[in-house]
C-alpha cells in the first residue's frame, strides 16, 4: 500500500472514532445490553398461536395495500419517466420533471404516510397513498435511467423511417425497456410489502399497527407471531420473484436462445 492510501485509511479510522464519540456509540454498552436482548428473545419464543388468524388477515391487508400502491405507482411513473428521459425530450421538458421526481423521493414513505393520515384520516387508504408516492419517485427514476441506456441502434433504425415520437416510444422504447420494468415492479412490490409493514407505526393500516402496539405494551410473544408472518411472506414473495425473473426477464435480456416446438 502506498503512503497516500495509508493516510486516507488513517483519516477514515480517526473519523470513525470522532463520529462514534459524538453520537455516543459505545461498544461496551452494546455488550452490557446483550442480556436484555436475551430476555426479549426468550419472551418472543412464547408465541401465542391463537393470534395467527389475525396476523394472516392483517398481512393480507398489507399485501393488498402494497399491490395497489405498486400497480398505481408504476402506472403513474411510466409516463413521467418518458418525459424525464434525456434521449427523448428537450432540457425544458426533462429538467422540471426530474426536479419534481427528486422532490417526491426526498420524503421517506413514513413521512408521506403521516401527511396522508392528516389528509384522509387513519387507515389503510393513507398507507396506500404513501406507497403510491414512494413508488412513483423511485420507479420513474429507475425507468428513465433504463430508457436512457436503451440500445441506440433500434432507436436509430426506427427513427430513420420517419415515425413520430409517440410511435417511437410505443414500438421501441416500451418493448425494449419492458423486461426492466417488470423487474422493477417485482422489486418494488417486494419492497412495498416490507414498507407497508411499518406504516402501521403512524396509523396508516397494515400489519405494522399490531407489531408496534404489542411491542409498546411489552407483549413480545404476540409481536413475534406477526413478525414471523411478515418473514414468511417476504420469503415467499422473494422466491416467487426469482421464478418470474428467470422466466420472463433473464432470457430476453441476454438474448438466450430457447428451443421452440
Amino acid at each position: 500500500m502506498n503512503p497516500k492510501n495509508n493516510i486516507i485509511v488513517g483519516i477514515i479510522i480517526a473519523l470513525l472514532f470522532v463520529t462514534s464519540y459524538n453520537i455516543g456509540a459505545n461498544p461496551i454498552e452494546f455488550v452490557k445490553g446483550l442480556p436484555n436482548l436475551a430476555i426479549v428473545a426468550e419472551e418472543m419464543t412464547q408465541v401465542e398461536p391463537k393470534l395467527f388468524g389475525t396476523a394472516f388477515l392483517s398481512m393480507f391487508e398489507t399485501i393488498q395495500m402494497a399491490f395497489i400502491g405498486t400497480i398505481v405507482g408504476v402506472a403513474i411513473s411510466l409516463p413521467l419517466s418518458m418525459f424525464a428521459a434525456r434521449n427523448l425530450n428537450s432540457k425544458y421538458v426533462y429538467a422540471p420533471v426530474r426536479a419534481i421526481l427528486a422532490a417526491i423521493r426526498t420524503f421517506p414513505s413514513i413521512l408521506w404516510a403521516i401527511l396522508f393520515v392528516i389528509m384522509v384520516g387513519l387507515g389503510p387508504f393513507a398507507g396506500v397513498l404513501a406507497i403510491i408516492m414512494y413508488t412513483i419517485g423511485f420507479v420513474a427514476k429507475l425507468q428513465y435511467e433504463v430508457i436512457e441506456t436503451i440500445d441506440s441502434d433500434p432507436m436509430d433504425a426506427v427513427s430513420s423511417i420517419g415515425v413520430s415520437k409517440w410511435q417511437l416510444i410505443r414500438y421501441v422504447v416500451l418493448p425494449e425497456s419492458a423486461p426492466h420494468l417488470l423487474s422493477q415492479m417485482l422489486y418494488m412490490f417486494d419492497y412495498n410489502v416490507r414498507q407497508t409493514s411499518i406504516l402501521g407505526l403512524v396509523g396508516a393500516g397494515g400489519i405494522g399497527f399490531y407489531i408496534i402496539n404489542y411491542i409498546k405494551f411489552f407483549e413480545y410473544g404476540k409481536a413475534a407471531v406477526f413478525m414471523l408472518v411478515v418473514l414468511v411472506t417476504v420469503l415467499i414473495i422473494d422466491w416467487a420473484s426469482v421464478k418470474i425473473r428467470d422466466k420472463y426477464i433473464i432470457k430476453s435480456q441476454h438474448g438466450m436462445k430457447i428451443s421452440v416446438k
Binding site: 440500445d151 441502434d153 433500434p154 432507436m155 436509430d156 433504425a157 426506427v158 427513427s159 430513420s160 423511417i161 420517419g162 415515425v163 413520430s164 409517440w166 410511435q167 410505443r170 414500438y171 421501441v172 418493448p175 425494449e176 419492458a178 423486461p179 430476453s252 438474448g255 438466450m256 436462445k257 430457447i258 421452440v260
Partner: protein, 276 residues
C-alpha cells in the same frame, strides 16, 4: 414539375428523373477537427444497385447516414430527389417513409415478434390511435405476411427476434425495409459476418426484389468481389475519399472515375489496399 411536387408531396417517386441521389463535394466531421468524409461526389441513377466498398473507418456508414438525413454534411450539397436530407425537416420526413435503412447492427427490437418487427415498416401509414393500440389494418398484415414469405421466413412470424439466427435477423431487417414500400434501400454491411452461402442468398434476395420493386439499392460492403458480383457501380472509399468508381461491363471492370485504369490495374490497386 413544381406543381406536381406541391400537390402530391408524398408521391415523389412518380417524378421520373434519372438521378435519384446527387452528392457534390461533401465533407463531414464528427469532431470539427478531422473530416470523416473529404470532398465526396457521387451521382446515382434511379434503379441502380450501387455499392460502397472500403476498409473499416473509411467513412462508408457515414455516407449512408447522410443519404437518409440522419447526419448533415459540414460542407457540400446532397440532394435526394431534389430535396436536401435532414431528418428534422418535415418535408424530408415524408421522404424518409420511403427510404429503407438497415444499419449494420440491424436495429431489430429483440423482445417483439418477427411479424411485429416487420410491421414497423408500415407505421408511417398508420393513424395515431391505430398505432397507439397496435391496430394494424388487415391489408397491412397480409402485406407483411407476403413479404415474410418473400424473404424466406414463412412460419416464423411469431418468433421473438432474439431467437433468430444471424441470417434470419438480416431477413427480418430487409422485410421491415420492404414493408415501407421503399424507393431507396440503404444497407450497411448487411452480409458481413455471414457465411459465404447465406451472404449470397441475402444478396440474391435483395437483387431480385430490387428489380421487381424498381428500387435504388445502395449497399455498403467490405468485400469488393461480392460488390462487383451484384452491383452496377462500385465506389471505393479510403480515408474519407472516393478513390475509385468502377462497374462491370461484359467481362471487364471499367473505371468510371478517370476512365484510365484497366481491370488488372484496378484489381491490383484494390488488393494492395487490402494488404495495408
Amino acid at each position: 414539375m413544381e406543381l406536381l411536387q406541391m400537390t402530391r408531396p408524398s408521391s415523389f417517386s412518380l417524378i421520373s428523373t434519372k438521378k435519384i441521389i446527387q452528392m457534390n463535394n461533401v465533407y463531414t466531421s464528427y469532431d470539427s477537427k478531422n473530416y470523416a468524409l473529404k470532398g465526396i461526389s457521387i451521382s446515382i441513377d434511379r434503379g441502380t444497385n450501387y455499392a460502397i466498398v472500403g476498409q473499416s473507418g473509411s467513412g462508408k456508414s457515414t455516407l449512408l447516414k447522410l443519404m437518409n438525413g440522419m447526419m448533415i454534411p459540414s460542407k457540400g450539397t446532397i440532394k435526394i430527389d431534389y430535396q436536401t436530407p435532414n431528418m428534422k425537416n418535415k418535408q424530408f420526413k415524408l421522404m424518409m417513409h420511403k427510404i429503407g435503412y438497415i444499419p449494420q447492427s440491424l436495429g431489430l427490437i429483440k423482445n417483439i415478434t418477427v411479424l411485429e418487427n416487420i410491421l414497423i415498416g408500415a407505421l408511417p401509414r398508420l393513424g395515431k390511435i391505430q398505432s397507439l393500440l397496435k391496430m394494424f389494418p388487415e391489408e397491412e398484415v397480409i402485406e407483411a405476411k407476403k413479404i415474410l414469405k418473400q424473404v424466406g421466413l414463412e412460419g416464423k412470424e411469431n418468433r421473438k427476434a432474439y431467437m433468430l439466427s444471424g441470417g434470419e435477423k438480416r431477413r427480418v431487417a430487409i422485410a421491415r425495409a420492404f414493408m415501407q414500400k421503399p424507393t431507396i434501400l440503404l444497407a450497411d454491411e448487411i452480409v458481413s459476418e455471414l457465411d459465404h452461402i447465406t451472404a449470397r442468398e441475402i444478396m440474391a434476395l435483395i437483387a431480385s426484389a430490387q428489380k421487381t420493386m424498381n428500387l435504388t439499392a445502395i449497399m455498403v460492403h467490405h468485400d469488393i468481389q461480392l460488390a462487383l458480383e451484384y452491383a452496377n457501380r462500385v465506389a471505393v472509399i479510403k480515408d474519407g475519399e472516393k478513390i475509385l468508381e468502377i462497374g462491370v461491363e461484359g467481362d471487364k471492370i471499367v473505371d468510371f472515375q478517370t476512365g484510365n485504369l484497366t481491370t488488372e490495374e484496378i484489381m491490383e490497386m484494390y488488393s494492395n489496399e487490402s494488404k495495408k
